[in-house]
Every structure is written in structure tokens, then in C-alpha cells.
């Protein structure tokens, strides 16, 4: 992956996600950080992006709205959107997956969780 946008209002959460991605072998990736969904949308429009990772609960624009915008965009619709949230449960996850999220995982995250969930994307790049 060449470029990953991480949208989360918590700098701590963004740092943890970045660290986990580095640990699973994505250290050479360009990480672009956004503090809310609106910034995240701007960032994914700015340059070709391989993955958007977003929290749900953010000020200004939440992750669910960001997902809707991305999936409604003809240019961005194929961009995988991974939701990492503390407010996730099976019902919410199902709803987000139906909206087009690539996957939904709950905080706290660790490298193994990210490695497992991103394996299909990373393997398809290698192939």
C-alpha cells in the first residue's frame, strides 16, 4: 500500500493505528492523518489512496457520514474503508458493512487484528 488516510479525532488512536500498520509491514507507506471525517474526505480526494481507516465518533463529520460520501462518489467508491471504533457492536457492524465498509473492528486494536483484517487487501496487491 502506498497511501493510507487515517481519520480519528484522537491523536493517540491515530498513533496506535500507524504503529500497528508499521509493525505488520507497512512502514514504507505514506500515512496521512485527519482529525475528523471532513478532513478525511478532503485527504482522500487529494491523491490516490489505497485505504481509508476511520473512527465513527468524530466532531464535524462522523465516520458513518464519511463512509456515505466515499461510497457515493464515482471516483472513490472502490476505496476500501476500514472502520475502527470503540462504539461498535454486531448490529452497528452489520449496518456499516451494508453501507459498503470493508470491515469493522473494535478498539483497542493490536497488530494481529489489523494483519488479519487487511490480509486479503495485502495479498491481492502481492498477486
Amino acid at each position: 500500500m502506498k497511501r493510507i488516510v487515517i481519520a480519528d479525532d484522537s491523536g493517540t488512536a491515530r498513533m496506535m493505528i500507524r504503529r500497528c500498520l508499521e509493525i505488520i509491514g507497512l512502514a514504507e507507506t505514506e500515512f496521512v492523518e485527519a482529525e475528523n471525517g471532513k478532513e478525511g474526505l478532503t485527504m482522500v480526494k487529494q491523491a490516490p489512496t489505497d485505504l481509508l481507516i476511520s473512527d465513527l465518533n468524530m466532531p464535524i463529520m462522523d465516520g458513518e457520514t464519511l463512509l456515505k460520501w466515499v461510497k457515493a462518489s464515482p471516483k472513490l467508491g472502490d476505496l476500501p474503508v476500514l472502520i475502527i471504533t470503540s462504539a461498535g457492536n454486531p448490529a452497528k457492524s452489520k449496518q456499516l458493512l451494508e453501507m459498503g465498509a470493508y470491515s469493522v473492528i473494535n478498539k483497542p486494536i493490536n497488530p494481529a487484528m489489523l494483519s488479519e483484517v487487511l490480509a486479503p487487501l495485502l495479498n491481492s496487491e502481492e498477486g
Binding site: T12, N57, M58, P59, S86, A87, N89, A91, K107, P108
Partner: protein, 164 residues
């Protein structure tokens, strides 16, 4: 009601242990209010509202020193490099993660829940509610408090969970 209190105590302890272990490699031990206060630490607090399916408020109070130690580990930075904003953000994210795990652990799986954005507490923590639990991590105190707007309604919502 005693059953509800025991259930909440057990669940909050489990998710706090899991959250701190996963985020910061820090273990916890339960302690009494007196044991926590005897450590005489400067504390920092953060609040978060759960607005759905029940109105709850959670507050996490943590020793400032513990937060600095966690931040040093997580950010691999020296103490003098850690800005106050980063410590505040860490505290907020700890409660955000804790509250999410807690709600997932207590409510029925098909039920959605909503969390507010955490806000740093500006007041001193002087509450002595029944649903306040004390812990020690790395020799520093922390506590978690749950306030329910309607404890009877919460009891009713969760009765299937703690009777399972």
C-alpha cells in the same frame, strides 16, 4: 439491585484490564477507596456520556503520573517531550475505548449504543457513588465511576445479561 452492581463491577474490571493491557501493557489490581487515596497522587479526570440505549455517564480518574508513564511507553518519548495536549488526548482515548468495550460487554448484542466525545473534567472528583470502582496500576491509583440517569431502567435492560 445488588446483582446489577456486582455485574457492572465485574464487567468494568474486565474491560479496564483488557483496555490497559492492550493499549499500554499495564496490569491493574482492585483496591479500596482508602488505599487509592493513601497514594496521594495528582489526578486527572475525563467524562463521557452514553446517550443510547440508556443515559449513563462514565468518568475515569487517573493519576497524572500513570498517564505520563503510559504515554512514555506508547509514544516512545521522554517525559520532557510529552506535551500536556498529548496527555489529555491519551486520557480521553482511554475512556473512549473503555466505554465502548464496557457497553459491548453489558448490553444485548443486537442493541446499538451511542457514545459522546470525551470531555476532560475540570472539577475535582469528590463523588462517592455506589458504582465507583478503585484500582492500582503500576503503583498509581485510578478509578472508574458509572452514573445512571435511571438505575431501575438500566437494571431492567441488563437483567437478561446478568441472569444469563
Amino acid at each position: 439491585m445488588e446483582q446489577l452492581k456486582k455485574f457492572l463491577h465485574k464487567k468494568i474490571t474486565e474491560v479496564l484490564e483488557e483496555t490497559l493491557e492492550n493499549m499500554a501493557f499495564v496490569g491493574i489490581e482492585e483496591c479500596s477507596e482508602i488505599e487509592a487515596s493513601e497514594l496521594k497522587q495528582e489526578m486527572m479526570g475525563v467524562n463521557l456520556m452514553i446517550t443510547d440505549p440508556e443515559l449513563l455517564e462514565m468518568r475515569l480518574n487517573t493519576s497524572k503520573e500513570l498517564l505520563y508513564q503510559i504515554a512514555e511507553t506508547m509514544y516512545t518519548m521522554d517525559r520532557d517531550e510529552l506535551e500536556e495536549q498529548l496527555i489529555n488526548d491519551l486520557l480521553a482515548e482511554l475512556l473512549n475505548t473503555l466505554a465502548g468495550r464496557f457497553m459491548s460487554a453489558i448490553i444485548p448484542t443486537e442493541t446499538n449504543f451511542s457514545l459522546s466525545i470525551p470531555e476532560l473534567a475540570e472539577d475535582e472528583d469528590e463523588s462517592t457513588s455506589d458504582l465507583k470502582y478503585y484500582y492500582i496500576a503500576e503503583d498509581y491509583p485510578l478509578s472508574v465511576e458509572i452514573k445512571a440517569a435511571d438505575i431501575e431502567s438500566l437494571n431492567s435492560l441488563l437483567s437478561t445479561s446478568f441472569n444469563a
